[in-house]
Symmetry: C2
Subunit: 432 residues, 2 copies
């Protein structure tokens, strides 16, 4: 899946008749019009000349303070002076690569990982090595093995890229135990960890876990945050905090790349985060997304064949569906688009062609009715493929997918196929 | 002059007591508060969800149309589909390098050139070869010579970077004849031209010249535009148009770098440029800057010693001052900052240490009183250096600077030193 193929896909998903479960779009229609107008009116009357002017490369002090405040809400305490404002979280990734990566350098990433990170990494000709995730996130045992193999071949990774909370695309969350283990591994190997945390505040159940930055060993963590998912991606304001020598390089890179982030949108962020409204808005968003996630889980149980499996993320925007391995989701997408529904094929989340039977589904961008209908359409094309396989081979689909228990456990898959083991995994917390 | 030294300088210039003639800051205090508030109010009530959402990598259709409309105002006709919206003009430079430059590749640039371009070029480890400018811009004869030398050594430049109108930092404008000649040279050598035109609409006298993009051979031109100087740099909206294969690469680079430009500020631009007010605002800005330029020219004639020279740009934001070669303007800046005035030392505009006796002065960011006082302070530190030299050596300063005639020619330098030739160069047009 090339970047340009992804872009072609995204172009199709902009057609109004298409229900897109593909993008990572928050629901910006929920942002209160009156609040926006009031903030901008205030801005016009107080700081307009500054909001329209160039700002310092590292970002406006008020925006750096806002980033620090949001991090404090996740119990990560960072001095605003250690924050660099970026053009969205994506630029954080880009600048880290610009500062650290030479062609051929190795980056360790989760498998699967965020497709946009793959774009950033490969644009610097990095060699991405995936270490698989399971329900508790990246597996530290496999990480140790991979590092040992790499060391044998003389390769020393530049950093480990992780999305610990509600990972994009797999929806899994790195357990606290593993956070500690991975930090220990990083310390032993003198490796930088790049912790990307766009969704941390969007938790729908269970207890929040500490950021890796705040744990022992966190001084070797570069942390990427963003206002995209708790306020708006259209303002393009994210941030990075990192060990000082790294931060200084990022700053130089930022200056060369685009001089500074938008002062106007930084002022908007600062005004918004300095007000009392934002935690309420995040709570409202979380409630909307939690319901959409539940609708998606219900719809999947209703529409997908028994051979399909998926997970129940505790937060974030995505879940991960795995289909029988005879289904190629890149091919399936073409069929799905004819049914006017879109998803991200799993292969976009790996550099090596893995993930060909998986798909990423987003549950934040479409409303509940859209999600029901979208999953119904995906069900149609998946069932077609399953029936085709079963007709051609004369066999039932070989596996039964791994699925979460639904909250009341009524809609769990029953083993009507006879003899095959149905694996359930309870969400860590029962949820509301 | 390293990037970080430049940043340290810029940090000092933020102190309120410092008059900065250093930055390239437009006067954003002139933007009408009521217009801003009205635009944002309209936006809140019509397109808010879209303005807060991710947009396509290439930019919103309405913003691409706005860029095309502004170019049409300079008689450059470009299909909006051939426009890529960038995070300011700086990102245009960055993405062009990202697409085309491998470490060690050669870029031809004017000497002096835009310091921010040097940052972008060197961040991709390009080798920058300066070709000197004179009053009519880059010298085509010297360009041919340099290309021949490079060809002999087996080096083939990736592109020629030019700011044809009111060049940053020298303030000179490339003559029409030279535009044609340089396009012919580019064609002969199969070279891309990168035409950076941030100031084209800010002309204070004389006739507008066609962009290189629109002339014969313009199909090998990548053009960088920006709303920074005609609307606001704080919105970070610029654009690139380029030959299709280049544009496609820039688009992929943009996606990896920051996904897309701010939808919010793109909506703001689109609303503003679709209205009737903007040409009036540009005309008002031009009149303000023209007056400030004239005040700066008058003040320079009043305050600087006879051995200093400068030019009278027909537009843009900058003029270029050359001092006797025994004065190092990087050292002089430290003295100037003690007098609470800042400028950009000439060395920032070259990669090779040239320009050490020159400085770039900005006349758009400070008001008329600030310019008078700023130049008075610069006069103090320059005169100190001249007197010190003359005292130590017992000689008069060896040269008399080349200066423009003032509009009424009253304040021209009189040859009171006896015997030395005073060179004048009349502005191409008498001006208002």
């Amino acid at each position: 899946m090339t970047s340009s193929a992804m872009r072609d896909l995204m172009a199709i998903t902009e057609r109004p008749e298409v229900i897109s479960l593909a993008g990572g779009l928050p629901d910006t229609s929920t942002f209160p019009t009156a609040s926006f107008a009031a903030l901008m009116h205030e801005l016009a009357n107080t700081h307009l000349a500054k909001a329209l002017q160039y700002g310092p490369t590292e970002g406006l002090a008020i925006a750096r303070a806002a980033a620090s405040k949001v991090m404090a809400d996740e119990n990560a305490i960072v001095d605003p002076d250690d924050v660099l404002i970026t053009t969205g979280g994506q630029q954080g990734l880009d600048l880290i690569c610009k500062a650290l990566i030479d062609p051929g350098d190795v980056i360790i990433a989760e498998g699967p990982t965020y497709p946009g990170a793959i774009s950033a990494f490969t644009s610097y000709e990095a060699r991405v090595e995936h270490v698989p995730v399971d329900e508790d996130g990246l597996d530290p045992v496999l990480l140790r093995e991979r590092l040992a193999e790499l060391a044998k071949s003389g390769a020393r990774p530049k950093f480990i890229y992780l999305i610990p909370n509600f990972q994009n695309p797999a929806g899994v969350t790195l357990s606290l135990e593993r956070r500690h283990e991975i930090l220990a591994i990083a310390r032993e190997n003198e490796l930088l960890i790049v912790e990307d945390n766009p969704y941390g505040l969007l938790r729908y159940e269970g207890e929040a876990l500490p950021t890796m930055l705040e744990l022992d060993g966190g001084d070797s963590v570069a942390y990427i945050g963003t206002f995209s998912k708790i306020l708006s991606p259209g303002i393009r304001v994210g941030w990075v905090t990192a060990p000082r020598p790294v931060l200084e390089k990022l700053n130089l890179g930022k200056q060369a790349a685009d001089l500074c982030a938008s002062s106007l949108t930084q002022h908007f962020v600062a005004e918004y985060i300095s007000g009392a409204e934002w935690p309420t808005y995040v709570a409202e968003l979380s409630e909307i997304y939690r319901r959409r996630r539940d609708v998606m889980l219900e719809s999947l149980a209703l529409e997908l064949p028994r051979s399909a499996g998926w997970n129940a993320p505790e937060g974030g925007l995505f879940l991960w569906v795995t289909l029988p391995d005879y289904i190629d989701t890149t091919d399936l997408l073409a069929r799905a688009l004819r049914e006017n529904v879109a998803f991200v094929p799993g292969r976009a989340a790996w550099v090596d062609g893995s993930g060909s039977s998986s798909m990423r589904l987003n549950f934040s961008g479409a409303d509940e009715a859209g999600i029901r209908e979208g999953i119904r359409r995906i069900g149609i094309v998946v069932n077609e493929q399953v029936e085709l396989f079963e007709t051609l081979t004369g066999k039932r689909s070989p596996a039964i997918g791994k699925r979460p228990a639904t909250p009341d456990d009524k809609q769990g898959v029953t083993d009507d196929a006879g003899g095959e083991v149905v694996e359930f995994r309870k969400p860590r917390s029962a949820g509301a």
